[in-house]
Amino acid sequence: MSAVAVRPPGIATRAAISVQDSLVVARRNLMQIVRIPAVLVFELVQPVMFVLLFVYVFADNVANVPPEIVALGGYVMFLMPGIIIQNAIFGATTTAIGIAEDLKAGFVDRFRSLPMARSAMLAGRATSDLIKNFILLLVVIGIGYLVGFSFENGLLNAILMIVLVMAVSFAFSWVMAWIALSVKKLEAVQAAAFTGIFPLVFMSSALVPVEGMAEWVQVIARNNPITHWANLARYFAFGEFSTMGGTPEQLMLWSALWIVGIVAVFIPLSIRLYNKLT
């Protein structure tokens, strides 16, 4: 039969095919935003609400904000880079929800029976969520400017902060993909995604300084990658400050290691689960 003549494609070809297939899937996912723009509007409500609540409710109640940051414009200067990291992580939960919805609708079966790359469905979802989260990020930065935040460390560093935020968002998309493929049921996936990340975000320097937390929480917070990312985002936004927890170079190294580590663990785990779906 013809089987003898056909050979599986080589690695380079397969990599090119993976990228192409992922983009086809990402385009499909993004069409949802094009066709139902309301989805994006609703997704904006939460981050914008968080910004406004924290800025105006916490305002002068937050102790331990380093004076040099207060001098730049108050708590809002401390908060914005942190809440932007939080949004990147919360924004990645749509990866879990999107995958769970595709599982429910039988779409995953269709994809898995097609000759497309096995990674493409997940990578396509991570890519489309990255683009969506980029749009959300720009809006949140805009809101930040309205409530008193501003970049004070030059254009290059502002761009580096955006790159950092996108990298965090992309890495968490793969954690979320893994959660979705482990839990599978849509409602349970939603619950699992949020319960997992909520304490993680709160036990970090994202929203308030670590210094005022309970002793044992401080231990967690100082070793929480979200603390490194939030402090690095602050450095990119306005320069060095007293509670950074390391030199900028150290923060960059730790942040990068965490991101690479998460991606290196959760991409293979997720693809493995995808291949083993029943």
Binding site: M31, D109, S113, P115, T278
Partner: protein, 338 residues
């Protein structure tokens, strides 16, 4: 002789302690429509999922188009199409966009994917709705679009899992027409169904599957012959019943059976139905016995199922309906002993 294009050998698959497939052996020739007929939970979907590389068997082997479904999965996927139990179409995309996407994922060049998508839409009478989002489609249109998607890659072998479940009668007929067209075009088709009539109408050969094994296989006629072929039934006036029965002796494959209360005479005719019918009418007319009603009764696949499994297919379905509507693989069905 050519090798069968689909063949399975002692295929087994369990989910936990539930044996969904307990040793399925199939052989389907190229260009034929093969029906896998059985109630929910019989193992149809699991078998299809193994053949389309979605699931790996625990034991046994299966090959499609010369490719092993496990070892050569990467090579197999380009030559098969799957229309699953759910219409897997993206509601936010138009009909055209849905099919173009699938074409791209079969790695057709952009223009070719578009051309092919238009072709399929035309063929499935969806051209007018090509630029509407699938959200606005009726159930029948969605199912057609889903089947269309499975054809974009011009598969040599197409798998359809209960393609007409949940469709209204008209949509069902439209889909049957499409399936006959595909068959005429030389596509090999493996079709799962729980509808006896559907298998009867569409399939060249039928495998009756129950509790994870194929319990009978053959053409629709062969399966019906197993339960004894056709029967001629006639009603005459009460005073003529026994006389008429005497005159009809030796006509059929067996002696006439008389039910005096119902004024009914039943003659097993094997495959000689029309000859016996004509001769019966002639003899009774000669004897001036008026016939009130006369008909050839063909055994249905329902009769087949009943005689093969000891329970009716529909009965098994009702049992299922009472339980939670979960995917087939999780269901466990106990056979009713008779």
């Amino acid at each position: 002789m050519d090798q069968p294009i689909i063949s399975t050998d002692a295929l087994k698959k369990s989910f936990g302690d539930v044996q969904a497939v307990k040793g399925v052996d199939l052989a389907v020739d190229e260009g034929k429509v093969f029906g896998l007929l059985g109630p929910n939970g019989a193992g149809k979907t699991t078998t299809i999922r193994i053949l389309t590389t979605l699931l790996q068997p625990d034991d046994g082997t299966a090959s499609v188009a010369g490719f092993d479904v496990v070892r050569d999965a990467i090579l197999l996927r380009p030559v098969i199409g799957l229309a699953g139990q759910f219409a897997a179409v993206d509601e936010n995309l138009t009909g055209l966009e849905n099919l173009e996407m699938v074409g791209r994922l079969y790695h057709l060049p952009r223009k070719e994917a578009r051309r092919r998508a238009e072709e399929v839409l035309e063929r499935f009478e969806l051209a007018d709705a090509a630029h509407r989002t699938a959200k606005t489609y009726s159930g029948g249109m969605r199912r057609r679009l889903d089947v269309g998607a499975s054809l974009v890659g011009r598969p040599r072998v197409l798998f359809m899992d209960e393609p007409t479940t949940g469709l209204d009668p008209r949509s069902r007929l439209v889909l049957w027409e499409l399936i006959r067209d595909l068959q005429a075009g030389g596509t090999t088709l493996l079709l799962c169904t729980q509808y006896l009539e559907e298998a009867d109408q569409l399939c060249d050969r039928i495998g009756v599957i129950d509790l994870g094994t194929v319990i009978a296989e053959g053409t629709s006629t062969e399966l019906k012959d197993k339960v004894g072929g056709e029967v001629l039934e006639l009603h005459v006036a009460a005073e003529h019943v026994s006389g008429a029965a005497d005159r009809l002796r030796g006509l059929g494959s067996d002696e006439p059976a008389v039910d005096a209360d119902l004024r009914l005479i039943r003659i097993p005719v094997g495959s000689e139905g029309p000859r016996v019918l004509l001769e019966t009418v002639r003899r009774l007319d000669d004897a001036d016995v008026p016939i009130e009603e006369i008909a050839l009764h063909r055994p249905t696949l329902d009769d087949v199922f009943l005689s093969l499994t000891g329970h009716a297919a529909e009965m098994a379905l009702e049992e299922e309906a009472a339980s939670e509507p979960e995917p087939e693989k999780k269901k466990r069905r106990k056979r009713k002993d008779r």
